[in-house]
């Protein structure tokens, strides 16, 4: 076991240890400290991994390690990361200390339960991205439901019970179908190779041999779980409720990482395991994504609850992410992965800002607060910054990824493939897709600017009964709160100004996936032509 594997293991083990420590040893008042220290320490091995990762071979699993667990089921504890997984792990680990910092004042009761489950969630998220075994991935994927369920159910706001139930049941139902689909793929590959294996690399290598009908069903099963998680229109109804009711930290993790499990699942499993079916149905999926972009954007426009507004904006933004995947070309995949990484920063930042405001005013209603810039200039500065990042202002994180996703839709057109543009071999989408999706950017600008203009600028309005209950007079952001925002801000700037570093890092795995789909579709077309030819030949010689 090399040093790096131990570091990768530490990313999961440290939070688990901290959770046990908090739950069984520590006192409630120490829970916050233990969680904060652990999540800060966890950043160190993560940085070590980032440094020792061989980015020039990003498509290969690195830091690989495997231990046989249940050989009769083919289940191995096998971990390892390619560059996409590495970056997503880095994002999850970085969000750790931020959400802990942001929770200090919001969580007063049941602190042991809260921080213990937060740590468990942290470990499970890393596990999802680090799994090289299909069933292990599924185990972690499902396991994230439980901590999140508890965080929403116990620490959420008024409607939390319904929200947590809807969240759990919606995603659990979908992922049971995903399990069935995965088992089918494993079974199919075992009939091909004679070996029952859950190794993701082997499965992706052989799954393309399934017939189109089989692939369609597998795709439907996999999407049942992943599309709910993303969430893709029309499976999005759980998300606004869950986001609105969840505590701030819950919302940040939900937007930052958990939603990405859906898009990551599509990228890592749905596309490689059912390439031909995905190629076939990519336009339909893209249409759903575009409906989501526009429809959720319009809903945002009429919201008065700021948190709900940001929640719906997540639905809208994740639509771009899926659109990029549906384009099935290099720019689409790169843009989509970039979006997975960057969306968490800006939307997570917005949720933090709303959380800080709610702690001060106990309201999220846009009609009750206005002109806060005069009262809390620092807060307003950050609010405007994250809103701009979310809108897609050039120079900030939203811009490069959104533009890449839109360009990919253009490129994914027959005209472009004919021109021999690299990676634009397919013809799944076309300019119209990009045109309609592009309106989403305009709508996003409208609702986010309207919201920011309303609550930050203009004459100062504070809730009427504010201060009557002996609440302290709101002060601007404290040092702790600013500390939690700085990494996000830095991340937004880095993503906006230097996206090429990240694009280079994910180039290899993205190319590999595109090649896999291309190869699979071409070989199926070839065999179809062969069949057509045979039919013609048979017709000619009865």
């Amino acid at each position: 076991m090399s040093m790096e594997v131990i570091q990768l293991g530490l990313l999961m083990d440290l939070p688990i240890l901290a959770a046990l420590l908090i739950a069984f040893v520590g006192k409630p008042k120490n829970a916050y400290k233990i969680a904060l220290i652990t999540s800060l320490i966890t950043v160190l091995p993560m940085l070590g991994l980032l440094a020792s990762f061989d980015w020039s071979h990003g498509d290969q699993y690195q830091f690989a390690w495997s231990l046989s667990w249940l050989p009769d089921l083919g289940l191995n504890l096998s971990i390892g990361v390619d560059s996409v997984a590495m970056l997503l792990i880095a994002l999850s680990v970085l969000l750790g200390p931020i959400v802990v910092l942001a929770s200090k004042r919001a969580i007063i009761e049941n602190r042991k339960m809260y921080y213990a489950w937060l740590m468990v969630l942290q470990a499970a998220m890393v596990g999802v991205f680090a799994s090289r075994d299909l069933l292990l991935f599924y185990i972690f994927f499902e396991f994230t439901l439980l901590p999140m369920f508890i965080l929403i159910r116990v620490f959420g706001s008024t409607n939390r019970v319904a929200a947590s139930m809807k969240f759990f049941l919606y995603t659990f139902t979908g992922s049971m179908m995903t399990l069935a689909g995965m088992v089918y793929v494993v079974y199919f590959v075992s009939t091909q190779t004679g070996v029952w294996t859950l190794d993701i690399a082997t499965l992706t290598h052989h799954a393309g041999a399934m017939s189109l009908t089989e692939q369609t069903w597998v795709l439907a099963a996999l999407l049942a779980g992943f599309a709910v998680k993303v969430p893709l229109f029309p499976f999005h109804t759980w998300l606004p409720l869950a986001h609105t009711e969840a505590p701030t930290a819950g919302s940040v993790i939900l937007a930052g990482v958990l939603l990405k499990l859906g898009t990551y699942g599509i990228y890592r499993f749905a596309i490689p395991l059912a390439p031909n079916a995905f190629y076939e149905y990519a336009p339909a999926i893209a249409v759903l994504a575009i409906i989501g972009i526009i429809y959720a954007g319009l809903i945002c426009w009429v919201q008065t609850d700021i948190k709900k507004l940001v929640a719906y904006s997540s639905v809208s933004h994740l639509g771009f992410c899926v659109l990029g995947l549906a384009a099935l070309n290099v720019s689409g995949f790169s843009g989509s992965i970039l979006y997975m990484l960057s969306h968490g920063l800006s939307t997570g930042g917005l949720f933090l800002m709303i959380g800080f405001m709610y702690e001060r005013y106990h309201t999220r209603d846009m009609r009750q607060v206005a002109g806060l810039a005069s009262k809390m200039p620092v807060w307003a500065t950050f609010m405007v910054f994250f809103a701009m990042a979310s809108v897609g202002l050039p120079g900030l994180n939203g811009f490069p990824s959104e533009v890449l996703c839109l360009i990919s839709a253009f490129q994914s057109d027959a005209a472009w493939s004919a021109a021999g543009e690299p990676g634009a071999w397919g013809s799944t989408l076309g300019p119209w897709f990009a045109v309609f999706a592009g309106t989403g950017m305009v709508i996003a600008a409208m609702y986010l600017l309207y919201m920011v203009g309303k609550i930050c600028f203009g004459p100062l309005v504070e809730p009427k009964d504010h201060g009557h209950h002996g609440d302290p007079i709101p002060k601007d952001l404290t040092a702790r709160e600013i500390t939690s925002l700085v990494p996000l801000t830095a991340g937004c700037l880095f993503f906006g100004l230097q996206p090429t570093i990240l694009l280079d890092a994910i180039e290899k795995p993205v190319n590999a996936t595109v090649n896999l789909v291309e190869h699979s579709v071409e070989s199926m077309n070839a065999s179809n032509e062969q069949t057509d030819f045979n039919i013609i030949a048979e017709g000619a010689n009865p």
Binding site: I139, I150, T173, M176, V183, Y187, W196
Partner: protein, 521 residues
């Protein structure tokens, strides 16, 4: 003869223990009386030890079925013993404490343990069965003692009502499958299971043989609490004392599944088509209805025991997926072998459900009544942390939450269902697991997340430490067996390996028999 005796050494040991227990349970000295459960335990351990040494049953359809199955029966039996001990003793010993003289004539203290062991003996005999008559007697030996145990488990009327209901419906079930057995005998001229298999393989399945098989399977549905013979389950589970309900969830169900496995093996699973069409259709419908009904009705329960009863129905439905999938070809691995999945799931289910019932038995209302309402377990993790956590872990496992034991068991059912081509049924199974999440989550949330509220004042720990221990062991198994599941899975795979020499009627092409052939008989 001696070969057969070698197969039933565990049963013989249990039977001897039963005889001893019946006497010591009624002994005038209290110390001896109180030693009775220990004797049961020793007997069970001895039986498990003897079971490991059982030779292969040559000439039967599943030659290696006995050791694994009997060991898990004895192990879950030990857990159940921890749970059951003290159930009827308590009232009697309280009377003795109040100065009344112990009167063996009025006491059913010894019988209770004896009946428990009788029932387990019957269960083990079902596993050894190679003959229809043997199987019938074994199934009845499993069930008859449970009717009495239900009735005497509490002093309340509801137990008597439950006992009577259980007895009459049980008699109906028994009559039904006996009728089926008779038809099978009529069709094949033999009661030996291997002989029946041989007859079906050479002559095809006659219509009367098919009828007999369908009727027998329907009758056995009573034992496993499957649609349409499930109606008694909620009433009986609620009427019986919680420890007895736990036993009902495991013992008759296991007997029923083993009997079904042995019966289905006589017609065999075709390599591609699975079971013969009619049987496949019947089991498919039963499985789908059983899961869906069980889960749908569990959703609307407030009584935890009724909820668990309906969930027990649903779990039977899950396991039927494995029955339909069948054992595959000889030498097939675990993920393909539905029978192995069923055997493994029976163990998982036994452990999980015992854990939940152990929690219910380990608390009681202050007025001495059983804790049953969902309000009674509210905030259990705060008022009684150990019990609360046992409930949370075992319920999560029943929900099939990864990576707990229930998930691993369910994965076996999933993979065997998919690889045998029953994808529709697997989808039904998946949807049902999701429906079940609703009420299991309700249970978990009540125990772990809600604050105790009023239940602190109404619920208290019952005086039996052994029940708490049973719960903790169950929860421990649910977690620890994850790491050590491999030997158990391997055991299940070996146990469910169909004898390579098995004549397979399903592979034999003519499923529609020559009508004249029947008239000849």
């Amino acid at each position: 003869m001696s070969e057969k005796l070698a197969l039933i050494v565990p049963e013989i040991l249990l039977f001897i223990t039963t005889c001893i227990v019946m006497i010591t349970g009624q002994w005038p000295q209290r110390a001896v009386r109180q030693f009775t459960p220990w004797i049961c335990g020793i007997g069970l351990i001895a039986a498990a030890g003897a079971a490991t040494a059982t030779p292969d049953a040559v000439g039967t359809l599943f030659p290696a079925l006995i050791p694994y199955t009997k060991v898990i029966i004895a192990m879950v039996g030990l857990l159940l013993l921890l749970l059951l001990s003290g159930t009827v003793d308590r009232d009697i010993e309280t009377d003795v404490d109040r100065g009344l003289k112990f009167n063996p004539i009025n006491s059913n203290r010894g019988e209770f343990y004896a009946f428990f062991l009788f029932s387990l003996t019957g269960l083990m005999l079902t596993v050894s069965a190679d003959d229809l008559i043997w199987m019938f007697l074994a199934l009845e030996l499993t069930s008859l003692p449970t009717y009495i145990m239900v009735t005497i488990s509490t002093k309340e009327h509801k137990s008597r009502e439950a006992g009577v209901k259980y007895f009459f419906l049980g008699a109906l079930g028994a009559a039904t499958f006996l009728y089926g057995f008779a038809m099978l005998y009529g069709a094949t001229g033999t009661t030996n299971l291997a002989g029946i298999a041989q007859h079906f393989a050479t002559n095809g399945i006659s219509s009367i043989g098919m009828m007999g098989m369908l009727v027998a399977l329907l009758g056995i549905c009573f034992k496993i609490a499957a649609f349409p013979m499930h109606f008694y389950t909620p009433d009986v589970y609620q009427g019986a004392a919680s420890p007895v309900s736990a036993m009902l969830a495991f013992v008759p169900k296991t007997a029923g599944f083993i009997a079904m496995i042995l019966l289905l093996a006589t017609v065999g699973w075709h390599a591609e088509l699975g079971l013969p069409g009619e049987i496949n259709a019947l089991l498919w419908i039963i499985a789908a209805f059983t899961m869906t009904l069980g889960n749908a009705l569990a959703l609307i329960q407030r009584s935890v025991k009724r909820m668990l009863a309906y969930s027990s129905i649903a779990h039977s439905g899950y396991m039927m997926v494995g029955l339909i999938a069948g054992p595959g070809q000889s030498g097939d691995p675990f993920w393909r072998n539905g029978i192995a999945a069923v055997l493994f799931y029976l163990l998982c289910y036994g452990v999980m459900t015992t854990g939940v019932f152990a929690v219910l038995s380990a608390i009681e209302k202050r007025n001495g009544q059983e804790a049953d309402d969902i309000d009674d377990i509210r905030g259990l993790c705060k008022s009684y942390p150990a019990l609360g956590w046992v409930l949370v872990i075992c319920t999560l496992s029943m929900l099939g939450f990864p990576p707990l034991l229930g998930f691993i068991g369910k994965f076996g059912l999933f993979s065997s269902g998919v690889s045998s081509g029953n994808i529709g049924l697997v989808v039904v199974l998946g949807i049902n697991s999701a429906i079940a999440a609703w009420y299991y989550l309700g249970l978990i949330a009540a125990a772990y997340l809600d604050s105790p509220g009023d239940s602190v004042s109404t619920v208290t720990a019952s005086p039996f430490v052994s029940r708490k221990i049973a719960g903790v062991i169950s929860a421990g198994c649910v977690v620890l067996l994850l790491v050590f599941a491999q030997p158990l899975i391997e055991g299940a795979r070996n146990a469910a390996a169909l004898s390579p020499a098995t004549p397979n009627a399903a592979d034999h092409a003519p499923l529609a028999p020559d009508p004249r052939h029947d008239e000849d008989h």
